[in-house]
């Protein structure tokens, strides 16, 4: 196959998968129950999150495949699984490998979710928090298109959206936990006597 077409495909699919991964992150981060209004279709949002993640993985696969098939630079099968073993651009490809490994782990664990303990699935899913920034660094570190204005703008947009979603999520979690897990003091409206009670709260959405 023509190396130039492979190369274009690698770059394009890489950027597309970054956008899709960003979208996936944002949709995943904004999934909490209490901070949403009751009429928000939370389940539909979760479904879209899942389907976009599948799309992201498809484009990621194209990106990885074409990068290996391209003989102009040598990367090799081994390097896409073990980080920092690529002859070409060892460090930045290595980051890509890390992001790939983490993304695959998150994806596969979600396919097997019904067979895993909830804690296990949740722990592995948290790796997504690591894989996205690594993917971002890989994109800009590889350098091929990262000096184009539109690519920089795109990157900034991705960072901004994930950043905002993260802030929203942290505030929603705090709001959710606050009333349930502190000692509350209550004055009897009838006798004005004060009683204190601790209501235990453990609902954790993060």
């Amino acid at each position: 196959m023509n190396s130039t077409y492979l190369w274009y495909t690698t770059r394009a699919s890489g950027i597309v998968s970054l956008i899709l991964l960003t979208l996936t992150m944002v949709l995943g981060l904004t999934t909490t129950s209490r901070a949403r209004s009751r009429n928000w279709p939370g389940f539909a949002q979760q479904e879209i999150h899942r389907r976009i993640s599948i799309l992201a993985v498809v484009f990621l696969a194209i990106h990885v495949l074409t990068s290996i098939l391209d003989i102009y630079v040598h990367i090799g099968w081994f390097a896409i699984v073990v980080p920092f073993t690529s002859p070409y651009s060892r460090f930045w490809v290595g980051l890509g490998t890390i992001a790939l490994d983490l993304t695959v782990a998150v994806f596969v664990s979600s396919l097997l979710r019904a067979h895993l303990k909830p804690g296990t699935w949740r722990g592995i899913h948290w790796l997504a928090y690591a894989s996205w920034p690594v993917a971002l660094a890989h994109t800009f570190g590889m350098g091929t298109d990262s000096r184009e204005h539109w690519v920089i703008a795109l990157g900034a947009l991705c960072v901004l959206s994930v950043g905002l979603a993260l802030v929203w999520r942290l505030r929603a979690s705090a709001k959710r936990r606050a009333p349930l897990s502190i000692e509350t003091s209550h004055e009897d409206p009838l006798t004005r006597r004060v009683t204190t009670a601790t209501v235990r709260g453990d609902r954790d959405d993060a």
């Binding site: 409206p189 004060v194 209501v199």
Partner: protein, 427 residues
Amino acid sequence: MTHSASPAPPRGDVHQLLGHPSDLRGHLEAHGPLNVALYRNSSWEQSLVTSIEASGLAGRGGGAFPTSIKLALARRAGSGGTVVVNAMESEPASDKDKLLLTRAPHLVLDGAQYLAVLCGADRIAVCIPIGRDAVAAAVGHAMAERAAHRYARVREEIVRPPDRFVAGEESALANWFDSGLSLPVFRPDKGTPLRIARRPALVHNTETLAHVALIARHGPGPFRGRGMTEEPGTCLVTISGAVAHPGVVEVDRGTPLSDIARLSQPVEPVQALLVGGYGGMWVGPEHFDTPYASITLRTIGAAAGVGVIVVLGESSCGLAESARIARYLADQSSGQCGPCVYGLPAIADELALLARGQGNGDSVARLHRRLREVNGRGACRHPDGAVSLARSALAVFATDIAAHGRGEPCSHWRKLTTLRFPRPIGS
């Protein structure tokens, strides 16, 4: 703790819990030896199982579940487990378990011994909440007596769970043993036995075990000789409120409510009776002569619950007292289930507004809707108790609600409560 008069010592063939000697020697003189077979003796075991079945004993901790069925389930679940003596008595208006443990600890412990041998349990754990040190001391003293005479067959010990309302719930107690947290566990299938450290656990109320001990010693006859045919035996009832002599009395099962209340001598005309505890139900004058038993109370929509009767005198405001109880129950939620955590405070707030005459036209309808929605949607029966209390208050004090709503709250809603609430609780 209120004091109760000591009844005359019972005759040998009459079933009675109160009035027995509390020391080991007196206990043995009155009842004879423990008589538990040294090795697993199936004919002895079978005759004891038959006795319990024939007696018709049902749990006295609020559930009124037939003891023989619970025992059969536990025996099927295997040996090596624990018999849990539920002496938590988290119901603030109840004193019977405390009394029984200080006046007749050996009866209770013997009952646990019999059941432990029948189940092949290797430990008996008496659960006394933190803070009730007098009771713990009395039980500790009795256990020391038994140890000195090598009397007990199965190892006995005292444990101290936290003093919270739901901590006495069966599954919360079992959960506490395993996790240290007194949180009720969702059990959709009550047929599966409770487990502690993966071994079966048989949890029984203090009073139930005392009955077992007497039935084991004297046969089912004396027990059946008291009470009703459908619900035999005696039960302990704590009477409080507008009475001259609050305390614990022992009555035949099926005694009319009014007769029981009269034993403590109400000091003024009685407006309503709270039956079954703070999670029980208000009963109005038209039902005062209902016999105190599960089957009869069910016909007026109530449950026997724990042996508690609170007498509400004329000079108190039923709505205000109900609002206080609802607030207490809301605060005692274990915080695990949404309908309880959010629903109970909402119900308590609404009742408080009604008591102060600040409810609006929709308040009662809204309250009814919330009660319908909250009922049965927790992991344990705690919210159901609050619902039962609130619903009965709306029914029995309906005229008060109307009067308060018209801006004529009775002068009594500000009166200091006649009910008992624990000190403000920490964590």
